[in-house]
Subunit: 117 residues, 2 copies
Amino acid sequence: MAPMENITYQKWLSQFRKGYLELCVLVALRQRKSSYGFELLQTFENAGLEINEGTLYPLLNRMQKNGWLTSRWETPVDSGHPRRFYQLSKEGKTLMSAMLTAYQDHEHTLTQLKELK
Amino acid sequence: MAPMENITYQKWLSQFRKGYLELCVLVALRQRKSSYGFELLQTFENAGLEINEGTLYPLLNRMQKNGWLTSRWETPVDSGHPRRFYQLSKEGKTLMSAMLTAYQDHEHTLTQLKELK
DNA sequence: AATAATACTTTGTAATGCAAGGTATTATAT
DNA sequence: ATATAATACCTTGCATTACAAAGTATTATT
């Protein structure tokens, strides 16, 4: 059985991404200062994370609605399709720190479990 | 703002546990060979992971239904409340390996994102 | 003129963590 | 002897999110 082709594994993977994707967006925006959906999709893909458009765009909207991000429309200098650029808000930065801590806690828990006797 | 008290953070944390809890159960059962719900709750708590009863018991049922676990009822030797003991199935072991790989992939992706320029 | 690429949006479905409440048995304290 | 706590498991309903699929609009390429 090749796990990657297993439906049950794919479903689990979808669930496993919940919450994780928000953290990825926050970290990417911390590094980039500012970015937009399409660029983030490519950034994630380069980092080994392929996610669906229909996942990212609603995610960005939710995160803004929650006050973690701010956004503004911007048209490329020469011409080109307008882009919605997102930035971290103060709350977004605070939350990102908490999330990174939670991430480390999870790592720590898993390590503990692996060492169970 | 203390993140732990923030509702928006708590909600995120619930989402973040999705998928992760399955991996924890699989790893704990790999180490323990055999265990039951109530004991797993304590094991997780000792490992720094507090989860709700109403989360774990349905989770164990689902995992068995999916064929990842097998179970049998057992009553303590002296007397005591009967317990449903769970064990990893062959499929469960295979899937656990795939999940651990996915976990590492996520770690790797996050590291990449943290190093973005 | 047609196609591809860029860029974002919307809708419906499946899945899961959690709170809250419930059942039953055994052990402990009064 | 009685009440309480601890052990052990189960069920229901809710809120949330990843995804597939389909859609809109603009710009670039063939």
